[in-house]
Symmetry: C2
Subunit: 148 residues, 2 copies
Amino acid sequence: MSNATDIPFATTLLVRDTCLCLHAQRAARALARLFDDALRPAGLTNGQFSLMMSLNRPEPPPMGPVAKLLAMDQTTLTAALKPLQRRGWVEVFPNPRDKRGRLLRLTPEGMRVLTAALPIWESTHAALEKTLPEGNAERLRQDLQALA
Amino acid sequence: MSNATDIPFATTLLVRDTCLCLHAQRAARALARLFDDALRPAGLTNGQFSLMMSLNRPEPPPMGPVAKLLAMDQTTLTAALKPLQRRGWVEVFPNPRDKRGRLLRLTPEGMRVLTAALPIWESTHAALEKTLPEGNAERLRQDLQALA
DNA sequence: CTAATTTCTATTGATATCAATATATATAGT
DNA sequence: ACTATATATATTGATATCAATAGAAATTAG
């Protein structure tokens, strides 16, 4: 039996079909699984791959900018670094220019892991793009960029 | 000092700029924060809102199809239901037609919470769409759909 | 009909995510 | 210099995410 507080089923369908947040979470989960599966032999998840790749810079970056680049909360970055530090793939060390801060860098072993993962990313990404109609990938990147 | 295993910085920039998985994770995190913030007064996260809204159906659905709709692992759904069951917003009960399975339904209190959250979703989503160029939202939905 | 296989869900363990909060250092205002 | 404010990061607690695994029931092969 319905009552006045019920939400019409049509409204549910509308929310499901139009919610950009839901669509983004769905796509993010699906792509995460795709890349997690592909990168598993390299010992990395998609997030660890992105994080470590973002540390491959001429100068070790502080945590804040890295968190912003990945569009994640700073506390998430702190947590995400833990397993990478534990495995000896990333070093976190004091910033001599700002005693509040810390800088991040790949260790040589971390670089080896990342180097081994790179061709996996390349082939996985190429295969993914091939499933999309010509031009959609670039358009999608731009549209996603506008949200993050 | 560089060595033969180093990844060129230009490669890092290429991965950062082109990786659809990274772009999707970034956008998903940003949108999750946006809707989590907006829905907080209603006591829901974006994921809880989407899950509860997906349970507003004529017939209580089994878990499998709900997990598929949300493009999440079935174990994730089991876990996500826990806090909602604890608060008395969702009921999980045996499927009389399949003794392996369980069916999901909103409680009356859960329906009230969802009803209170709906206008928040509507205004938040309308504001979000207004920040996007005309037509981009629909295009983005279709592009995201192709990935999930 | 029985055995093998598949399907549906739960549990455990590891990681990811963020809010709330706390601490230390830097910067700005006076 | 001193004080107030802002910035950079860490910790805790709750929830989210999935792999690996396991159990129970349904389905299929024979």
